[in-house]
């Protein structure tokens, strides 16, 4: 344990209002800590720069999953376990369910939060590609009130995001419009559990007329990847390229080339750039094959 608890302050004001007031009073001085599954690792390694922390664990305003007719609102303080156990999410947003299932082990799923995953902004974060694919919107809160921003484009660079120093993520909203899509997700790590991803894909697709009917051309597709760039990526160029086309070997080949051009994987302690690029191409190809297979001619 390479930090001295005596050097740190941690307070728990108990309400969202008190926390945002604190953040407004002393911007940049207090680091919010929810479940701690990222920050406490840094702390134990002696690598946590912040000395003052404010607990947002268990704040009622950040908990809960609200199911509305058009969207669901996931409290930023929801844990992965809560995500996994929610029926509507399992039915309509399975990419988020699978991301929650492969984050850490059960003990870490009981503490890690969706809001924490976003703000920690690791390029390898498990749930962020799913949020990109579903085009989540974030509700941010501060003393100035709430504002709603699209999640796509929220991350502007490695660990940089469009979050003011006195803002917290309050909720993540997902529109309930994806039930007729094919949902494809795959995480590639060094082992089957408790692994930081080497490549992570979350993708949605629909053929013309929806799954199982109509023509076989791609009507709508979203492809998001983690661990291949400083931020989680939506591959909008690839999406544009395949839209309106039928999936055939030629398209898959072109898609691979487009994927390779869109990503910037690196060599690091876990893997190599070449491997990541190859696997990313393979997984997108697999997704396109699965999408093609949803077409059942009349």
């Amino acid at each position: 344990m390479r930090s001295d608890p005596a050097d740190y302050e941690l307070i728990a004001p108990g309400t969202l209002q008190a926390v945002v007031a604190l953040l407004a009073d002393e911007p940049g001085k207090w680091l919010p800590i929810a479940g701690g599954t990222d920050l406490m690792v840094l702390y134990a390694a002696g690598k946590l720069p912040a000395r003052k922390l404010v607990s947002i664990w268990n704040l009622a305003e950040l908990r809960g999953i609200e199911v509305l007719p058009d969207e669901i609102r996931i409290g930023a303080g929801c844990t992965y376990t809560e995500l996994r156990e929610h029926d509507v999410i399992a039915q309509e947003f399975p990419l988020l369910t699978s991301a929650a299932r492969w984050t850490g082990g059960i003990a870490n799923q009981n503490r890690g939060t969706l809001g924490g995953n976003i703000v920690n902004a690791s390029p390898a974060a498990d749930s962020l590609p799913a949020l990109l694919a579903y085009e989540a919107e974030l509700i941010l809160v501060s003393v100035r009130g709430e504002r709603r921003v699209p999640y796509v484009g929220f991350h502007t660079g490695y660990k940089k995001m469009k979050l003011a120093p006195d803002e917290l993520i309050c909720a993540i909203c997902l529109r309930r419009v994806f039930s007729k899509y094919l949902h494809y997700s795959r995480k590639v790590g060094a082992r089957n559990a408790q692994a930081i991803s080497k490549v992570c894909v979350a993708a949605l697709g629909r053929l013309r007329g929806g799954v199982g009917g109509g023509g076989d051309a791609i009507d709508d597709v979203r492809i998001a990847l983690g661990s291949v760039a400083p931020v989680p990526l939506r591959l909008t160029e690839v999406e544009r390229m395949v839209s309106g086309k039928s999936v055939d070997p030629e398209l898959v080949k072109l898609a691979r080339i487009a994927v390779a051009a869109a990503i910037q994987p690196i060599d690091d302690i876990r893997s190599t750039a070449r491997y990541r690029a190859a696997v990313a191409g393979n997984l997108i190809a697999e997704f396109l094959e699965q999408l093609r297979a949803t077409w059942k001619p009349a």
Binding site: P5, A6, M40, V41, A44, W57, G105, A107, N108, R111
Partner: protein, 165 residues
């Protein structure tokens, strides 16, 4: 309210551990693992990695399995904790403990407390787990000695015994 209580101030925190109310005087950023081991002398919970990977520090907090090395003391205030010391019912070993002993689920024993709490958490949620359920539930508890096979047997055996009671 006043924000700054001054760096380095200890706080009095109350929590329940294995059914017993406890009050400790600790820094809010003390790890729950260290509160259990050092303040309360409950050394059954172990530190294997300090980063939430090995699960040796697993305890139940308000009925949920957590890695105590990743929890600041302040966030455990008011919580209901179960550690390995609270698993046996007096001198009688629990079904899991007995099964671990008989099936070879414990070799060196260092992962065993966390493993037993993890398995107990599973059996509460799924009293009749499949092998895949067991594998998944224990994936956050690393064991270097057993290769897991006899741990799976122990958990399955404990489930069988509890269901036949």
């Amino acid at each position: 309210m006043s924000h700054s209580s001054g760096n380095g101030a200890k706080r009095e925190l109350s929590l329940t551990v294995n059914g017993k109310p406890e009050t400790v005087r600790v820094f809010p950023m003390e790890r729950l693992l260290d509160v259990l081991r050092q303040e309360l002398g409950l050394t059954g919970t172990k530190e294997g990695c300090g980063e939430g990977e090995c699960g040796s520090c697993s305890v139940l907090m308000d009925g949920k399995l957590v890695n105590s090395c990743l929890i600041p003391a302040l966030q455990a205030a008011g919580a209901n904790l179960t550690t390995i010391e609270g698993v046996a019912e007096g001198p009688q070993l629990s079904a899991l403990q007995a099964a671990f002993l008989e099936c070879g689920g414990a070799q060196c024993g260092i992962c065993t407390p966390g493993m037993i709490l993890s398995a107990s958490h599973l059996l509460k949620k799924k009293p009749e787990p499949t092998l895949d359920d067991i594998r998944e539930a224990l994936a956050g508890n690393l064991c270097r000695c057993t290769g897991y096979m006899q741990i799976f047997e122990a958990v399955a055996e404990a489930a069988r015994r509890k269901s036949s009671v």
